[in-house]
Amino acid sequence: MTHRARFLWIGLLFLSLTPAVSLAADLRFQSSTQYLWYTDPFKDKDQSDLVQYLKFGATKLEPTGRLSAVGYGRLSGQFGGENDPKLGDDDGLLGRLYFLYVNYALPSDRGDVRLGRQYVSVGAGSGTVDGISAELRNLGPVHATVFAGYDVRFAETTDRTRSGNYLAGVSVGGSLFKGNTVDVSYLRKYDESDVIREMVGVHADQRILDKAKAYADLRYDVLHGTYSEFLGGAKLFPFQAPVTFTAEYFASYPTFDADTIYTAFAVTRYREGVGRVDYIVTPRLTLYGAYTRADYDGPTADIGTVGVRATPKQVPGLGLNASLDLRNGYPGDLTGFQASADYAFGKAMLAAGISYDVFQRDSMTEDFSAKKVWGGGSYEFRKNMTARLRVEDTETRQFRNEFQGRASVDLSF
């Protein structure tokens, strides 16, 4: 984001918060001050960051309560190590603005109009813009989204907009009859005023007898004249107990923005078929499992995962998560598990976890293993103030021990 644009948005925000329009405004802030330490893999040196996050929401900016403003961003500074601007080790502070916009809620929950930096999404694509968007809903069976603005591109240390880089999209959909949704969307992306991406999205879903749902979702690349992604699937939940069976077919033809020569290269299609079961045995126990058959236009892979989430009645405050992943085929094999537990007692919480993976990429001649162990705790000093500490040690292919940690003080007021 250029300085000029940033000042413009901040100016707009403060304008909306002036006493004339915000006599009865309700202001809420959330803050997190974090000290991070880690080993920089490029330098093999310990470094640390001080990061300040701030999120705010201002509601009831005018008597009807329809106008509100929200913002979220962070400032960070790095200590130690060598300065390397490309790695984000700037001498000065680095800023990142996630969103900052004024929201006007239309009467009768008919939608919202937003002005400022915001995350936008339609079936044809998504992004972040410095601009305007409108979401219209509850207009009978019709709903619509439209947005346009400067395209915000996030990189390692920047979130920039530039003149000539734009993102615009529109989506119109409706329910043709009960339990049905159809949606058509369009997205256009500009770089230096040239069109580099033009997509059409089509989505349709249908609930069937209150026991199943079928859906299809297509992204069509207009510039390349081919579909970019297709997803077709069905969910079945025939029993009183919440068991959901999912079957999906997904195909991807990766296309590139037209500002790179990769846009002109032939690629092959990736296809996968997925079967998944989610079973909520009780509100305290959830099981899930999935099998995926992936086809890379020739070579294939089999991928499986099973997992459990539990909050045992016998130990109030205890939460358990575990999953097992198996992968065999192109372009590599992986066997791994992840497990974690958290235990809340009074105003404190303790948590710990482990993950262990054995993997071999096609290009490797032997198995490698990686292990990550982490632990942490939090304590609520006051209702609006919590301190957290987390430490992690990872044994990777490159490093015997890679330590990192995070200490934070979180406030809301």
């Binding site: 069109v195 790179t260 999935a290």
Partner: protein, 227 residues
């Protein structure tokens, strides 16, 4: 004419009113503090499949992109940006980080070594969060000989494999072209053979390549590199 319009309005108005009632979006603000398994009771009862299950990270895209989405009843845009762009104001104890950015759960253990496997599974999923320079930032700094790209490794990390294994090079590049872009962001190394101006002039275009459409809309930006 006026009568026709009035008659149409009289017929259409009740239909619109009925539709407004029948298709009204369910407001979920009242349920935002429920635990996820508790949502299932109401969902299955009303014929809507429960969500936020084991495959939610993968399947939320479709529901979140629909114009009738109700994500904002429980979440703000920070939920999107925290996961897609590394924000950490609400970081859980289980959340790990890459430098100052919070990592999603899918980026498991030794992610630097494992990510090529994951990146090949649907080559477009990385770009949902990362711009191409993100890959180049790391790959441009690594010693090429330390990489273990399938065919680069056969030739000791040099480009000689292209001449030695031309078919395999083409197949690998077509399966995951983004991995080429990760180390060669401007594609200059590709031009050694694939330019129409120099070298052996191997045509890289797919069948039915829409050259005119891409060229006219993008001001021939990528075309003039080779032609």
């Amino acid at each position: 004419m006026k009568n026709k319009i009035l008659r149409s309005i009289l017929i259409l108005l009740p239909a619109v009113m009925m539709a407004v009632t029948a298709y009204a979006r369910e407001d979920h603000k009242a349920y935002r503090d429920l635990k996820l398994p508790e949502c299932a009771e109401c969902h299955t009862g009303s014929g809507i499949p429960p969500n936020h299950g084991g495959g939610w990270q993968k399947e939320h895209r479709i529901l979140a992109a629909g114009p009738n989405r109700n994500c904002y009843d429980c979440h703000d845009q920070g939920t999107c940006q925290d996961c897609h762009k590394g924000g950490g104001i609400s970081a859980k104890l289980s959340d790990s980080q890459w430098k100052r950015d919070i990592k999603p759960e899918s980026h498991r253990s030794d992610w630097v070594s494992i990510h090529p496997i994951q990146a090949s599974s649907n080559p477009q999923q990385c770009s949902r969060c990362h711009e191409p320079p993100f890959c180049a930032n790391c790959h441009g700094r690594l010693n090429v000989t330390s990489l273990t790209i399938r065919d680069h490794a056969k030739s000791g990390g040099t480009q000689a494999y292209i001449a030695a294994f031309p078919d395999q090079h083409a197949a690998e590049a077509r399966r995951n072209l983004a991995s080429c872009q990760a180390c060669h962001p401007d594609g200059n190394v590709c031009l050694t053979c694939h330019s129409a101006k120099i070298g052996i002039k191997v045509n890289p275009h797919p069948k039915n390549f829409k050259a005119d459409r891409i060229g006219s809309k993008s001001n021939n930006r990528s075309c003039v590199v080779c032609h």
